[in-house]
C-alpha cells in the first residue's frame, strides 16, 4: 500500500510538475474554450451540440490525447528525467509500480471527463425541454463513464507503447487519430478493435439526431455490455503485457526501456 501511495505521488508530480503544469491547465480549460467559441457563434446550445461535444470533441479528440499524453509519460518521463533508476532499485515489482503510477493519472482523467461533460451539459443540454440536472443525471454519469473507460484504455495502450517504442506519444496519437478512422468503414469485427467505436456504443444519445455523432453512433453495432468488456479487455491486455515486458527487460541508465 505504501508503494502504491508513493507511485500515486509520482503520478501527481508527473502531471503537475512545472514542465507540464501549463499544458495540464490548458487541457482542463479546453472544453471551456470550445464552449466559449460556441457561445460566440450561438447564444445557447442544443442537445445536438452536447452530443457532438461529448462524443467527438471530448471522446474522439481531447480524452484520447490527454490519456495518451499522460500514459506515455509514465515511463518516458522517468527515462528522460533519468530518474527511473530510483524506481528500478526498490523492493517492488517494477511493472506493477509503474502501473500504479499510471493508475494515479486516472482520477485526473475522471475529473477532466466530468468537467468536460458538465461544461457541455450546462451549455448545450440544459433546456426547458430536456429537464433539469436531476432528470439528466444518468446521462451525465453514463457519458463520463464512457469517456473515462475510453481514456483508461487509451492510457494503457500508451503505457504499452512506451515500453515497446521510442516515440509512444507519436504512435499513440497516430493510433487515436488515424487508425480510429478506419474501423467505422470496416466490417463489424474491426469495430470491436476500435476504442472510439466502443466509446460510442456506451454513449447515451440514442435519440434521432442529425449531427456527426449520430451518424457515427448509428454505425456502431456493439452492445453496451460488450463495449464495457471490450474496453476493459483492451486496457487489461495492454497493461499486463507492459508489466510483463517491464519485469523482463534490461535497463540501461540513459535509455533503459529501449536498450534491447
Amino acid at each position: 500500500m505504501n508503494q502504491i501511495v508513493a507511485a500515486w505521488k509520482l503520478s501527481l508530480y508527473q502531471i503537475w510538475n512545472r514542465k507540464r503544469r501549463w499544458v495540464t491547465l490548458l487541457l482542463y480549460l479546453f472544453p471551456v474554450l470550445i464552449i466559449a467559441v460556441a457561445l460566440g457563434v450561438r447564444d445557447e446550445g442544443t442537445p445536438d451540440f452536447y452530443q457532438n461535444f461529448v462524443t467527438v470533441t471530448l471522446g474522439a479528440v481531447l480524452i484520447p490525447f490527454v490519456a495518451i499524453y499522460w500514459g506515455s509519460g509514465v515511463l518516458s518521463d522517468e527515462i528522460e528525467g533519468k530518474t527511473l533508476v530510483y524506481l528500478w532499485t526498490r523492493p517492488a515489482d517494477r511493472g506493477i509500480l509503474l502501473f500504479w503510477k499510471l493508475a494515479g493519472s486516472w482520477p485526473w482523467l475522471a475529473l477532466l471527463c466530468l468537467a468536460g461533460v458538465l461544461a457541455g451539459y450546462f451549455y448545450g443540454y440544459r433546456t426547458p425541454d430536456t429537464g433539469g440536472l436531476g432528470a439528466n443525471l444518468l446521462i451525465i454519469v453514463w457519458d463520463v463513464r464512457a469517456l473515462l473507460l475510453a481514456g483508461i484504455t487509451w492510457s494503457c495502450v500508451a503505457f504499452l507503447l512506451s515500453v515497446c517504442t521510442k516515440r509512444p506519444l507519436t504512435y499513440g496519437l497516430l493510433l487515436a487519430y488515424l487508425w480510429e478512422l478506419i474501423p467505422q468503414y470496416g466490417p463489424g469485427f474491426v469495430r470491436r478493435l476500435s476504442v472510439t467505436q466502443q466509446m460510442l456504443a456506451l454513449a447515451t444519445h440514442k435519440q434521432e439526431q442529425s449531427g456527426l455523432a449520430s451518424k457515427l453512433i448509428d454505425q456502431v453495432q456493439i452492445s453496451e455490455l460488450e463495449a464495457v468488456f471490450s474496453l476493459l479487455g483492451i486496457a487489461g491486455l495492454c497493461a499486463v503485457t507492459a508489466i510483463l515486458l517491464l519485469n523482463q527487460r534490461e535497463f540501461l541508465s540513459d535509455d533503459p526501456a529501449r536498450s534491447q
Partner: protein, 338 residues
C-alpha cells in the same frame, strides 16, 4: 548453484555481459567481502556494467551474480538489504530533498510516519538536515550527492553500492563524503564504491577490484597496486621561472628517465643526456621555459631534491603537479606488463 557464504557480501562467478557485439564485462569472477571495496577502472572499463549487474539492473549473459545470497536480477527482495546510489545527477527537480528521501522511503515500503523518521535520520547523517526543505533544483552537485546517499540509506541496507560518488565534489566535500563512507563501514554496512581516481579509493579502503576492458586486471590490496605504480615512470610538471635550473638539479638522479622543458609554445627534451627538439619551430626556443616535465621512477626522490633546493633558496618553484597520477597511467602500465 550454491548460496553465497554468509561472510561474502557479493559474488560474481564467470559473469559476462555484452551489448550486441560490445563486451561490457568478460568472465569476471570476484568475491566481495564485508567492509569497503573499491572498484577502480578508467572510463569504459566496465565499472558501470559491473555495478548494474551487482544491483540487478542487468542480467548476466553468462555466469552468476549473487548479492547477500540472492540473485539480484530475479529477486527484487534483495533491495530491502541493498542500497544503490547512481552516478546520475538527476533527481525529481521540483521536489524538496526531504520529500524525495521520504518518497524513496515510501517506495521501499515504509509508512508515511516511518519514512519521515528514517528520512530525518539519514539526512542528518549526510549533513543535509539544514537544507532538506529546499527544492532540489537549487542544489549543488555535492548536495545532490548527499541527498542520493540519504535515499540509498533510508532502509539501512547491509550493502550500499555507490557509483562514482565523488565525481564533481569539491575537496572539502570529498573529505566529508569519505568520512561518511568510513562511518558507514564502521557501523557494519558494507560499501562498494567505484571511482577512476586511485587516491580516492586509497583514502577509503585497502581492498580493491581493478577493471580494464571488461576484465578484472587486479584484485586485492591497494598496496600491491601501489607498488606496481611506484615501479613505473611517473610524470611530474614543475612550474618555475628557473625551469632549466630545476632540470639541471634532477637530471643527475638515476631514476629520472627524461626531462622536457615547456613554455607557451615550445618544449625541448633531454633524453639520456641527449637534447631533442619537440617544438614546432626552432625559433620558439628563444622564449625561456616556464616549466619542466620530469619522468621518473622515484617521484619521492625527485620531490625531495626539489624541496631541498627550494629550502636552500637555490630554486624558485611555483607548483608541482603529477600529470599522470591517475588510473589511466597505471592501467597502461599494467596492460603493458601483461
Amino acid at each position: 548453484m550454491s548460496a553465497t557464504a554468509p561472510a561474502t557480501i557479493a559474488q560474481m562467478n564467470e559473469a559476462s555481459k555484452w551489448y550486441g557485439d560490445v563486451i561490457g564485462l568478460n568472465q569476471v569472477s570476484v568475491l566481495i567481502q564485508p567492509g569497503i571495496t573499491g572498484l577502480l577502472g578508467p572510463n569504459g572499463a566496465g565499472k558501470s556494467t559491473f555495478l548494474k549487474l551487482l544491483t540487478g539492473q542487468l542480467a548476466p549473459n553468462r555466469g552468476m551474480v549473487r548479492v547477500l545470497g540472492r540473485d539480484p536480477w530475479a529477486d527484487r527482495g534483495v533491495y530491502r538489504e541493498m542500497g544503490y546510489c547512481p552516478d546520475s545527477e538527476q533527481l525529481y527537480e521540483e521536489m524538496t530533498g526531504l520529500a524525495f528521501v521520504r518518497l524513496i522511503g515510501r517506495l521501499a515500503g515504509y509508512s508515511a510516519r516511518d519514512a519521515a523518521l528514517r528520512a530525518d535520520v539519514q539526512l542528518e547523517r549526510v549533513g543535509m538536515a539544514q537544507h532538506a526543505g529546499r527544492i532540489i533544483h537549487g542544489y549543488s552537485k555535492g548536495m545532490r550527492q548527499r541527498i542520493r546517499l540519504a535515499a540509498a540509506l533510508i532502509h539501512e541496507p547491509k550493502l550500499v553500492v555507490l557509483d562514482e560518488p565523488l565525481n564533481g565534489l569539491d575537496p572539502l566535500g570529498r573529505i566529508e563524503m569519505l568520512k561518511i563512507f568510513k562511518d558507514l563501514a564502521a557501523s557494519g554496512c558494507s560499501v562498494v564504491v567505484s571511482s577512476h581516481v586511485l587516491h580516492e579509493i586509497e583514502n577509503l579502503t585497502r581492498h580493491m577490484i581493478m577493471l580494464h576492458r571488461g576484465r578484472v586486471l587486479a584484485e586485492g590490496e591497494i598496496s600491491e597496486v601501489r607498488s606496481l605504480i611506484e615501479s613505473q615512470p611517473l610524470t611530474l610538471r614543475v612550474e618555475s621561472p628557473q625551469a632549466r635550473a630545476v632540470g639541471a638539479a634532477v637530471v643527475g638522479l638515476d631514476s629520472v628517465t627524461s626531462i622536457e622543458f615547456a613554455s607557451g609554445f615550445a618544449s625541448a627534451a633531454i633524453l639520456n643526456g641527449r637534447t631533442a627538439a619537440s617544438a614546432q619551430s626552432k625559433s620558439d626556443f628563444s622564449a625561456p621555459p616556464s616549466a619542466v616535465i620530469i619522468r621518473t621512477r622515484t617521484p619521492d626522490a625527485v620531490l625531495e631534491t626539489l624541496q631541498h633546493e627550494a629550502a636552500e633558496n637555490r630554486l624558485e618553484i611555483g607548483g608541482i603537479e603529477a600529470l599522470d597520477d591517475n588510473l589511466d597511467a597505471v592501467f597502461r602500465y599494467l596492460v603493458e606488463e601483461e
